[in-house]
Symmetry: C2
Subunit: 138 residues, 2 copies
DNA sequence: AATATATATGCATAATTACGCATGTGAGCT
DNA sequence: AGCTCACATGCGTAATTATGCATATATATT
């Protein structure tokens, strides 16, 4: 598919829409935090982030064991406009706000700006029953 | 897929991107004109227009034998923002401007505001060798 | 070095979507 | 009524994309 259509397509998946929404709200979020916020398997989050990376909408930054994602710098005009459309969507979507709530709770668990220290979080991956369920809230 | 992701997805196809671009430039365009402008089979155009209809981005209006499409009235805020992203994209895309050129030539052929009178145009459908090739230009 | 944690990815499969062809529908013309 | 033109749609198939599971990689930590 051509590049720009792909760009829109990048937002054409519910999970990616949710990811982008969170990323526009916070400066930097690491993968495990996104996993907890969306309650979606880690391999799934990673894959969707990869798609968003390819569209140039987000950038990643490895720090220690973790990979932090954020909205890319130097977005083109139409890309910034797209992001704005996402935020505008926010008002209509309860689920996006729920994501933000879970993300908020999760981000509070950072110690010294570092994410997931001492937290186990494997929602869909492998066996172990997941921790960080205080974040899930329900 | 959920509704809003689908909305982005509506733009996540090159053909639909091209259609939307033309529709944002002109008030009303009928299917056969779009076929000539994009040089894409009629059944294909119809299908993509149907997708755009479902997203609420465009509306149709039957007039005599023809069906005219236009950008929907009463778009929501984020929808208008999306359209703006499309126009902003225009600057980067030679192909969109070529579509517009062909569309412009085609629209000039209207007689009395009525489209495709006496023109035969079956780019991909069935047999007959297409007319309106003065529009294709190449 | 061995182990544990965070993230990515190969592979098989399921689900979704686009496409081409043929045909259906509906409006207008003769 | 029969024909033609504009448009839509059913169906089969090809192409694309998402998902789950397992595993690979890379970076601490002990």
């Amino acid at each position: 598919m051509d590049y720009h259509a792909e760009l829109f397509n990048g937002l054409g998946d519910p999970t990616r829409l949710r990811l982008l929404n969170l990323l526009t709200q916070a400066k930097e979020i690491c993968v495990c935090e996104l996993v907890d916020a969306l309650q979606v398997p880690q391999y799934n989050i990673s894959r969707h982030l990869h798609v968003l990376l390819k569209t140039g909408m987000v950038q990643d930054h490895k720090r220690g064991k973790w990979v932090y994602y954020s909205v890319a710098k130097n977005l083109k005009l139409y890309q910034r406009t797209l992001l704005r459309a996402v935020s505008e969507l926010r008002d209509e979507r309860e689920d996006l706000r729920q994501d933000e709530a879970r993300a908020g709770r999760r981000l509070k668990l950072r110690s010294g700006g570092v994410c997931c220290v001492g937290l186990v979080s494997k929602i869909g991956n492998s066996s172990q029953e997941t921790a960080a369920q205080n974040v899930a809230a329900r």
